[in-house]
């Protein structure tokens, strides 16, 4: 008689689980009379742009890593951290849903489900048909339209154009091609090309990119450092930070030590900047590049 019992138990458990489905119809309808303009952003580039336009985001993803990799502008204290970028915490958002979730194409797999909680808008400066700069301008204007910050956006764009023009002026005589790289480990770098803000800077100024090889959808290629010798005359600009331990390993790296740029002191370092970011990141990168490209500062200055 006891033989049937375990399976009964099993079915009972599953039935209990299933009975929860009865609550479906009661669905979430919170957030009816919450204050307007509370925006959550899962993409750092959007978060950066929101802050730059003077909007205080309601929630942003992975703030500790934002502080390390994007750095500026700083996310306000009052902004909620909503977890990893590709998985904004829905239990958290559901308790007091924002009026809008801005997400990027990279992090959206099932937006229809999120839309039951709050309006969702895919805003991105990648995954578009436009080149980086035009796409970023469009993204900035789109965010401005949604948040009613059109004048701030135009001001930011004007300021960025001015920074770019100033950079073009300052870099007029920069004839030496350069590699802009970020270290992955002591043997490999990401070298940047067309398709992100570095490509924009190369096309808007007299700077020439020493890297002419293929790049991926985010505008970089992962290469071993010996390929930085393909253009022996080039300068090398390194975006900080070094991954941990790399600095010491480079001292023992015979290729690095023998690269013409290293031997002849044509290596410079610039502060961390998010190469896939928005206009503020672009401005910071432009200023940093001008600072290390114009005569004066010692090349090896600022080594991490």
């Amino acid at each position: 008689m006891s033989r049937a019992r375990p399976s009964t138990v099993l079915s009972t458990i599953v039935l209990i689980l299933m009975s929860g489905l009865a609550f479906v119809s009661m669905g979430a309808q919170a957030g009816d009379d919450s204050p307007s303009g509370r925006i959550a952003a899962s993409n750092w580039t959007v978060a950066e742009t929101l802050v730059a336009l003077g909007v205080e985001p309601y929630a942003v993803s992975d703030i500790p890593n934002y502080d390390e990799w994007v750095k500026s502008p700083a996310i306000p204290e009052s902004t909620l951290d909503m977890g990893l970028r590709n998985e904004p915490n829905l239990e958290l958002l559901a308790q007091n849903p924002p009026d809008l979730l801005m997400t990027s194409a990279l992090f959206s797999r099932d937006n229809a489900r999120l839309e039951r909680l709050m309006p969702v808008k895919v805003i991105d400066n990648f995954y578009t048909d436009q080149p980086y700069y035009e796409a970023t301008l469009a993204m900035t204007r789109e965010i401005a339209n949604v948040t009613g910050r059109q004048s701030q956006a135009e001001a930011l764009i004007a300021e960025t154009n001015q920074v770019l023009e100033q950079a073009a002026h300052d870099l007029e005589d920069a004839a030496t091609p350069l590699y802009i790289v970020q270290f992955s480990d002591a043997q490999h770098v990401r070298v940047f090309g067309q398709g992100n803000m570095i490509g924009t800077l190369f096309s808007r100024t007299a700077l020439t990119n020493a890297w002419t090889g293929p790049t991926n959808a985010w505008g970089y290629a992962s290469i071993p450092i010996d390929r930085l010798a393909e253009h022996p005359e080039a300068r090398i600009v390194i975006i900080k930070p070094y991954p941990r331990g790399v600095g010491d390993e480079l001292d023992n790296n015979q290729i690095w030590q023998h690269l013409p740029a290293v031997r002849e002191g044509r290596v410079s370092y610039i502060d961390p900047v998010w190469p896939y970011g928005g206009l503020i990141s672009l401005q910071r990168l432009a200023r940093s590049l001008v600072a290390v490209s114009t005569p004066g500062p010692a090349a090896m200055e600022g080594r991490p």
Binding site: T12, V14, G213, S222, G245
Partner: protein, 665 residues
């Protein structure tokens, strides 16, 4: 039977010729400008000529390191296979590689100053810790082959789980370790070459000293013991050498998994019989295999924007080779003797335990629904949900809890079916390669720029599973789905997934994090609709599985016995296989391919004394649900608002229990 292949010479000669052609091609394409100065660049490069420096410090050491690494891994694999008398044994099986990787990740994050002391030593430490753990777990069983391999796989899965969790949170800081982890052989000085050559020489000398006693392991266990050999010491020494060699390779050039398994197998298949022959030919084949792969990778490098890591490419190329080799591999005779099998306690009153388990599972489900974090102004406080939170629970917690439970149930059932069908405690849906097939399909979809409907994820996953299943059937039809061959086929398919995963991670694609999260088994994307479907599917498949207990009781007795008792062995195996496939596909599509539950739950059920087929099925199913639901709750709340995938946590919980149970054996 193969017509040629009396000796491995021909195979090795073909590989060597291929290596020469590829090597020359690489010289011609990448160092054409140095033409005529090649020898000078190798021996005495001109310090002012960067091209000569590059050739001197990258091309030449890379060639040597590839050969040394391949030979060393093959030697390690050969030693391990001899000691464990199991053609499935390889450096990865013992957890050495994942132990080494975990040690490096931890050191990178929390003790970067240790890295200055030399990262090979940290990797070595991790590898040794993993091996000691494996030895500790199998010590009471006198390091019996099956128990060692089982412990090794558990330790390996456990460390990889911790590893993945850390990578999820620190992707940007650890990107370099992805490259190392996938076995990029890039060199920038001669240090690795010197490091490897010295250690390989030492290990070869020690292995030669052990040659005679190790050869005697070919005899049956009792025979060897009657010759006065201390089996425990001999195994310890043999395994120790293999582990040391592996740790050296891993620390110098990263994870290169396939060579240690394939080279000894190829050597044996192509005619190396005695242990000395197998050692020598394994090393030669291993060296040439890695060299050819690396040269091919270097030929491809200029055409892509992402790194092609050699270690991962070896696995990608090696998997089809292994599949081709399978029908030609004699594994039947190497099954462990009964003395090494697992004997388990039998519970007198399994019914009561089942009820207790069921009660626990219900409590866990309710708690997982009710307990969570509340947002109070800007603070996040843990609290019980009240009646007014029904919407929150139904919308955002129920789907995840129910999906976790359904997936846990299905994986546990699949694992039980598989272990009983094959009579092999290492069997699990993951080992069979079906979850890997599903994952390969989904990754392919993620990477291909196809803007198809959202449903296509399941379509691609299902196609992957069907392809994996077809491969399984095609490769195993002739042998009547013999258990060992089935497992080997599965391992070959899984290694393809590992290769794809490593290549994606090393390419530094920003989508890697998404991939990691899915591979870890996250319930994040569970919706009420998908949950309803998955629960119904789980129920139907469970009902289909329960009546099969007669087969499940008789099949473990062996094919002849089962046949004598009136079971159509081939047909029942095929049907069970289909059922396992369905269970695995359904579970993997919602919760990713990390099916640690499929390995754990049946074992836990047996350790708890559920010995009969029916009791084990139900017990394992309940345990699978219990562990998965608990894991999902922990994953959602441990680091709120950051979430860890349920599969990962399940591996961490299940692993501890499993190691404890293994220790008690």
């Amino acid at each position: 039977m193969m017509l040629r292949a009396k000796t491995p010479v021909w195979f090795a000669a073909c590989l060597a010729l291929l290596a020469l052609i590829l090597g020359y091609a690489t010289l011609e394409t990448q160092f054409a400008d140095l033409s005529g100065h090649w020898w000078q660049a190798i021996v005495a490069p001109d310090d002012e000529q960067i091209r000569q420096i590059v050739m001197h410090y990258t091309f030449v050491p890379r060639l040597l390191v590839a050969m040394l690494g391949g030979a060393a891994l093959a030697l390690a694999g050969c030693l391990m296979q001899q000691v464990l008398r199991n053609p499935l044994a390889s450096p990865a099986t013992l957890g050495v590689t994942s132990g080494a990787q975990l040690a490096l990740v931890i050191a990178t994050l929390w003790a970067p100053s240790w890295m200055l002391a030399g990262k090979e030593w940290i990797a070595l430490l991790g590898g040794i810790v993993a091996t000691l753990l494996v030895f500790a777990l199998s010590w009471k069983r006198r390091l019996a082959p099956m128990v060692v391999v089982l412990s090794g796989m558990v330790v390996s899965l456990y460390f990889s789980a911790i590893n993945s969790a850390l990578l999820l949170f620190h992707q940007e800081s650890l990107s370099g370790l992805f490259i190392w982890g996938s076995g990029a052989l890039s060199q920038d000085n001669w240090d690795d070459t010197r490091f490897l050559i010295l250690r390989l020489a030492i290990v070869v000398v020690l292995a030669l000293l052990l040659l005679r006693p190790l050869s005697l392991l070919d005899l049956e266990e009792d025979g060897a013991r009657s010759l006065g050999i201390s089996l425990r010491k001999l195994r310890f020494a043999g395994l120790g050498l293999g582990v040391f060699m592996t740790a050296c390779v891993v620390s110098a050039i990263g994870l290169i998994g396939f060579i240690g398994l394939a080279a000894p197998a190829i050597a044996r298949l192509s005619g190396a019989r005695t242990l000395p022959q197998r050692l020598v030919w394994s090393m030669i084949v291993g060296a040439l295999l890695l060299l050819v792969t690396d040269l091919a990778v270097q030929q491809l490098a200029p055409f892509t924007a992402s790194l092609l890591p050699t270690g991962a490419m070896t696995a990608a190329l090696g998997a089809p080779l292994l599949l081709w080799l399978l029908p030609r591999l004699k594994v039947g005779g190497t099954r462990p003797t009964p003395s090494t099998g697992l004997t388990l306690p039998r519970e007198a009153r399994p019914q009561r335990r089942l009820w207790i388990l069921a009660g626990l599972t219900i409590v866990a489900c309710v708690l997982a629904l009710v307990v969570g974090f509340r947002l109070d102004a800007h603070a996040k406080v843990p609290s019980l949900a009240g009646l007014d939170d029904l919407a929150l629970i139904a919308d955002w917690r129920l789907p995840r809890v129910a999906t976790a439970a359904a997936a846990g149930l299905m994986l546990a059932l699949a694992g039980t079916l598989l272990q009983r069908m094959t009579g092999n405690p290492m069997a699990s849906p993951e080992v069979l390669g079906i979850s890997a097939g599903v994952a390969i399909g989904v990754i392919a979809l993620m990477l291909l720029p196809l803007g198809i409907a959202p449903l296509s994820g399941s379509v691609m996953g299902f196609s992957g599973a069907v392809v994996a299943l077809l491969v399984l059937i095609v490769c195993n039809r002739r042998s009547g789905f013999a258990p060992e061959r089935l497992l080997l086929t599965g391992i070959a398919i899984s290694s393809l997934l590992d290769a794809m995963r490593a290549i994606v991670l090393a390419s530094e694609d920003p989508r890697a994090q998404q991939l990691l999260s899915w591979l870890g088994g996250s319930t994040y994307y569970a919706s009420l609709t998908s949950t309803a479907w998955i629960v119904v599917i789980a129920l139907v498949l469970t009902l289909l599985t329960l009546p099969l207990q007669r087969w499940l009781t008789l099949l473990p007795l062996g094919a002849p016995t089962a046949k004598a008792l009136g079971v159509d062995v081939d047909r029942s195996r095929l049907l069970l296989l289909a059922l396992v496939a369905l269970l695995t596909v359904a579970a993997t599509l919602v919760i990713g391919p990390l099916s640690f539950i499929g390995l754990m739950a049946p074992h836990m059920a047996r350790l708890m004394g559920f010995h009969g087929a029916r009791h084990q099925l139900i017990g394992a199913g309940l345990l699978g649900m219990l562990v998965m639901v608990t894991a999902d709750w922990l994953g959602r709340n441990l680091f709120f608002p950051y979430q860890l995938p349920a599969g990962l946590i399940a591996a961490l919980i299940g692993g501890v229990y499993f190691m404890w149970g293994l220790r008690r054996l």
